[in-house]
């Protein structure tokens, strides 16, 4: 029997029962053992209670989607069992907390009193380790994986560590023993392939924050909002010391304008938010564009509009972000598609902001932000710091005179001027004259040319039809693409996280395609509409459930679209 290359476990129950902790612990155990692991969680917007589930996917190769069918469902209550049993694959296992409730058994519905077994070790919080012990037995992991993880995690240099380690290892052992009694296993998970280089285990939000730190961020001002809050929390803890500042603002309106004030004063500033906050920030982002002040805004997308779906994922802020402010604007946008890209997207956003002296939006997504995953350790050496072009000449400088970018005076230095959100003349004074509005509008758009350094992916470039996902849909699309190619489907692949401006060569390639299929998580088909406006025959495959695409479903929909043929060609 071929060894398994993929292992998917879902923990389902009620908020507060530790599902996310369990999923992350399992992923971390696997990551330490050398596998590729990631988590996915979805929960209601409340502190405790409500149906919650978290999923871990462990793989022998890097993957970027939560996976389709479950190998194991761990049900913490009866509702969770009823709700999720249908997603367990044929031959998969359902484990339930038999200390809490009883189910009609069956070969593959197994009782495991994990709360009770956990407590029997003398540690009331060891029940997750019972479950992890059981799971590791089911895929024939050596005991060492779990004991290594436990030893690492709980050796924190505190009194009592030894006892915590002992009880957790004991709990893991109890879980293994229980599973051994069931008389079956799922099949051995193939051993991990040797890794190139070091890895870090991070969530998307942390990767964004680390990218900002690598870009040498000075000031962060933010307001709590799901699912962007962890970035604020990270910054409050780490963006400290002389010359650095992280601050919780009283609203998103305050946050954006404070970040602009800091940027004007010569600092690298960022704020992060989600949909509703982005709406509140729109006037401020327009100010940054108009007054030409570097600024990085991270929008961790959730379901919208209004308060929408605070804890679900969606890719529906693209159009809002692109034309975020009233008036003639076109925001530079970088949308990472993986946790690893979250790091580089944030770092690159600072480059862009400084280079063209204006706002840059990083479009992340809930599904990336909350995903914990092991990724290659970010290459700090690859992050080139972009220095602001600062004015150092004499006074009497005309800040906005040039047809394009011009050196920026910094308060305290020479070249005092008025940064102006009203239309202005070269000195920065307010004007209503047509010639200046024309000059300044063209100047602001001309600067976007400086941002055409984006990179992109291209596979099978000769194919007339390509698949081109964006953002977090990259993961499921990659797997769907692989499936389709294995089936003999003819299809090209393009991907970039630089959505605006698009890398010019990529845009040129896309314009020559017969059809560009864009899978995306929104109703409108937002990115394909942008591509069509750029003269690309693009068409979307959409989903708006608050959840990411399933690989198989996506592959089927792409195949169906291909079968319809390009005679139903999109006109542009």
């Amino acid at each position: 029997m071929a060894k398994r290359r993929d292992f998917i476990v879902r923990f389902a129950g009620e908020g507060g029962q530790g599902m996310v902790t369990a999923a992350e612990a399992l992923a971390q155990t696997a990551a330490q053992a050398g596998y590729h692991a990631l988590t996915f969680a979805t929960f209601p917007s409340q502190i405790i209670g409500g149906p919650t589930w978290a999923q871990t996917r462990i793989s022998t190769a890097p993957v970027h989607s939560p996976g389709d069918e479950l190998d194991v469902l761990v049900a913490f209550n009866r509702e969770a069992y009823e709700e999720h049993r249908g997603e367990v694959r044929h031959g998969g296992v359902i484990i339930y907390d038999s200390g809490a409730f009883q189910l009609e058994g069956g070969d593959h519905v197994q009782p495991l009193p994990f709360e009770e077994l956990g407590k029997s070790t003398g540690n009331a919080r060891a029940s997750n380790m019972v479950v992890l012990g059981t799971l590791s037995y089911l895929v024939a992991w050596p005991e060492k994986y779990l004991t290594d993880f436990i030893t690492n995690r709980f050796s924190r240099g505190r009194p009592g560590d030894e006892e915590v380690v002992r009880s957790n290892i004991q709990a893991g052992g109890l879980g293994r023993q229980e599973a051994a009694k069931w008389g079956f296993a799922l099949g051995e998970l193939a051993p991990p392939s040797p890794r190139q280089g070091q890895q870090v285990f991070v969530k998307g939000n942390e990767a964004v924050a680390l990218g900002a730190m690598a870009a040498d961020i000075d000031v962060y001002v933010g307001y709590p909002i799901s699912p962007a809050t962890p970035i604020l929390v990270f910054m409050e803890r780490n963006l400290v010391g002389p010359g650095k500042l992280a601050y919780q603002a009283s609203s998103e309106i305050e946050a954006i304008n404070a970040a602009i004030g800091a940027g004007y004063a010569g600092k690298k500033a960022m704020t992060a938010t989600s949909g509703p906050g982005l709406s509140l920030m729109s006037e401020g982002i327009g100010l940054s564009w108009m007054s030409e002040i570097p600024l990085v805004v991270v929008d961790v997308q959730r379901g919208g509009p209004a308060t929408g779906l605070p804890t679900k994922t969606e890719q529906s802020d693209l159009l809002a972000a692109l034309n975020i402010a009233h008036g003639d604007v076109r925001m530079p946008i970088i949308a990472p598609g993986t946790v690893e890209e979250c790091f580089y997207a944030a770092a690159h956003a600072f480059k862009w902001a400084e280079r063209y002296q204006g706002p840059v939006v990083v479009l992340s997504e809930m599904v990336l932000a909350e995903r914990a995953q092991n990724i290659p350790k970010p290459d700090l050496g690859s992050v080139v710091l972009e220095k602001r072009v600062v004015y150092r000449g004499a006074d009497g400088y005309l800040r906005y005179e040039e047809p394009g970018l011009s050196p920026m005076p910094v308060p305290g230095g020479p070249g005092a001027y008025v940064a102006n959100g009203s239309e202005h003349d070269p000195m920065g004074d307010t004007t209503h004259r047509s010639n200046w509005h024309q000059h300044m509008t063209e100047r602001r758009f001309r600067k976007l040319k400086l941002l055409e350094d984006g990179t992109y992916e291209s596979l099978n470039p000769d194919e007339p039809v390509v698949l081109m996902p964006w953002g977090g849909t990259k993961g499921p699309a990659q797997e769907a693409y692989k499936l389709l190619l294995e089936q003999g489907t003819k299809l090209g692949w393009n991907y970039t996280m630089f959505l605006n401006p698009l890398p010019p060569r990529l845009l040129d390639e896309l314009r020559h395609k017969e059809l560009v299929i864009v899978p995306e998580l929104n109703y409108l088909g937002q990115f394909s509409s942008v591509l069509r406006s750029l003269g690309v025959r693009a068409e979307s495959i959409t989903q708006y459930t608050g959840l990411p695409f399933k690989v198989r479903e996506l592959a089927d929909r792409i195949a169906a679209r291909l079968q319809a043929g390009v005679k139903e060609r999109v006109t542009v």
Partner: protein, 288 residues
């Protein structure tokens, strides 16, 4: 147009109170530079939207940096500038509409933080630039373009509000008292914390209160402004409330918290104790 820029196409109406405020601000900045040996470019003037916000373009003499942002957001911008560069002298100029209506939500938070900026608020009791709409300080019953049958709301009492919000320095003045105003702005800039200098700055086109403020014997009008007596204890919040609640418009320093410690001072103290990790250390803390 302004003296320094013939291209600039804005002007205040003749007799506008903002002319006096500009003179006072120019004097105060000159005195501040003389006293602290700092340069013009060490000051940033953050302006609101409205007639008063144009102050930042109208200033004559040595030029400070300026930021003419968006309506109601002077304080958030000033917060960003000051906290990014605590060495800068940050002055806010805004009107009653900008500061007390659309921007009022920002006063409380900055008062709680004790942000070290000086806000010079030009109160003309009307939206002037948009041609005469009711503002938070417009009197009840006033006929304006948006209250054609008389204003129904009671006017806000800004001086009491500042005290309640927790502003650590509150002064009140009238735009025609240029020297007094210059001194009050200077006191505000020296105050280590959030200072508001609230100025009666009449709009000669839509709400000309010059006569009401200073009084007119010929018309039998008693002056609305009155000088705060020298024995007023500005360190006492109770005494400050008493002044702010008295009829008419008090002139002078109403409140000055003697224990004021600015946000940037406290942040700097905290920053010295912080043990920041390098990016490398942060990345390594996530190593598998």
């Amino acid at each position: 147009m302004s003296k320094k820029n013939p291209e600039y196409d804005f002007a205040w109406c003749p007799g506008c109170g903002d002319f006096g405020v500009r003179r006072a601000l120019e004097f105060a900045l000159r005195d501040w530079m003389n006293e602290t040996r700092r340069r013009p470019e060490d000051t940033v003037v953050v302006a609101g939207i409205g007639c008063s916000g144009n102050m930042v373009h109208m200033l004559e003499g040595p030029q400070p940096f300026g930021f003419h942002g968006i309506h109601g957001r002077t304080l958030p911008i000033a917060f960003g500038v000051k906290m990014a560069r605590p060495d800068l002298n940050v002055v806010v100029v805004a009107g009653d509409g900008d500061f007390l209506s659309i921007g009022a939500e920002h006063i409380g938070p900055q008062a709680q933080r004790n942000l070290n900026v000086t806000a010079v608020i030009m109160d003309n009791g009307v939206y002037g630039l948009t041609k005469g709409q009711s503002s938070p300080t417009t009197e009840t019953g006033s006929i304006t373009s948006t209250t054609p049958f008389g204003k129904l709301e009671v006017p806000m009492r800004p001086l009491e509000m500042y005290l309640t919000w927790g502003v650590s320095f509150v002064a009140s003045c009238y735009s025609s008292r240029v020297k007094d105003l210059a001194r009050l702005i200077m006191e505000g800039m020296k105050h280590p914390g959030f200072a508001v200098v609230h100025v009666q700055s009449p709009c000669t086109t839509y709400n000309d209160t010059h006569d009401i403020l200073k009084g007119d014997i010929k018309k039998g009008l008693a002056p609305k402004i009155w000088d705060i007596p020298p024995d007023h204890d500005a360190a006492s919040l109770e005494a400050a409330y008493e002044v702010a609640r008295s009829p008419g418009i008090p002139m002078g320093i109403i409140y000055r918290n003697p224990k004021s410690a600015s946000l940037d001072q406290r942040v700097a103290e905290l920053a010295l104790k912080a043990k920041p990790k390098s990016v490398q250390e942060l990345v390594d803390s996530y190593l598998v």
